[in-house]
């Protein structure tokens, strides 16, 4: 399973765009890139998933370059409530376990 590397923490201010980059150099052909969010004392929550190029939903965008060795989660106009830990995961197919790293602690301030 491809190992992921992401920054331990990031700080931002309300209204800013936040980009969290994750590297996954050993990603395999069948792997997808998935991001989860976790608030303190809550279960992780799915944000977005992609295979290549760009994916956008109502919450975030995910940018994946052609070589797929990295990905960037983009959160537009963050608010205080976006303060959470963000996990980048590489997943292979459905029904399989999720392997969480330490994630990126995003802190949003006024």
């Amino acid at each position: 399973l491809a190992k992921t590397t992401q920054p331990i923490s990031m700080d931002s201010y309300e209204g800013q765009e936040v980009n969290i980059t994750c590297s996954h150099n050993n990603i395999a052909t069948n792997d997808y890139i998935t991001w989860y969010q976790q608030f303190p004392s809550q279960g992780p929550r799915f944000i977005i998933q992609g295979y290549k190029t760009k994916v956008t939903n109502e919450v975030a965008s995910l940018f994946i370059p052609a070589d797929r060795k990295s990905s960037t989660l983009s959160l537009p106009r963050v608010s205080l409530s976006d303060t959470a830990v963000y996990y980048c995961l590489v997943v292979t197919g459905g029904g399989n376990k999720l392997t969480f790293g330490t994630g990126t602690q995003l802190k949003v301030e006024l």
């Binding site: 997808y32 998935t34 976790q38 004392s41 809550q42 279960g43 992780p44 929550r45 799915f46 998933q49 295979y51 996990y87 997943v91 197919g93 459905g94 029904g95 399989n96 376990k97 999720l98 392997t99 969480f100 790293g101 330490t102 994630g103």
Partner: protein, 115 residues
């Protein structure tokens, strides 16, 4: 919006006691999982369950642990003889299918405290 529920939210037990953590996955989901998170540490996979049997388990999931789907709605995790190091948040999750779109829906967790 359908959600995964877990009971109890907090369980305190004495070392050596048996505990059962309960989960109700989303009704049309077929894959079920347990994860745990020791305070301040990573979320760790314990076990996955499909078609009434374990499909994968981690090294953490030793003989002290068992899972069961006793009826059409509940999914339980039993720890036979709890140890201090079992203190953690336990999360149940479920997913709909084995498609590439592997969104797992997590419950709110049960905080297990072993004294």
């Amino acid at each position: 919006e359908p959600e995964v529920t877990q009971t109890p939210s907090h369980q305190v037990t004495q070392m050596g006691q048996e505990v059962i953590l309960r989960c109700v996955p989303i009704s049309n989901h077929l894959y079920f999982y347990w994860y745990r998170q020791i305070l301040g540490q990573k979320v760790e996979f314990l076990v996955s369950f499909y078609n009434n049997e374990i499909s994968e388990k981690s090294e953490i999931f030793d003989d002290q642990f068992s899972v069961e789907r006793p009826d059409g709605s509940n999914f339980t995790l039993k720890i036979r003889s709890t140890k201090l190091e079992d203190s953690a948040m336990y999360f149940c999750a479920s997913s709909e299918s084995a498609s590439f779109y592997n969104e797992q829906f997590f419950g709110p967790g049960t905080r297990l405290t072993v004294l």
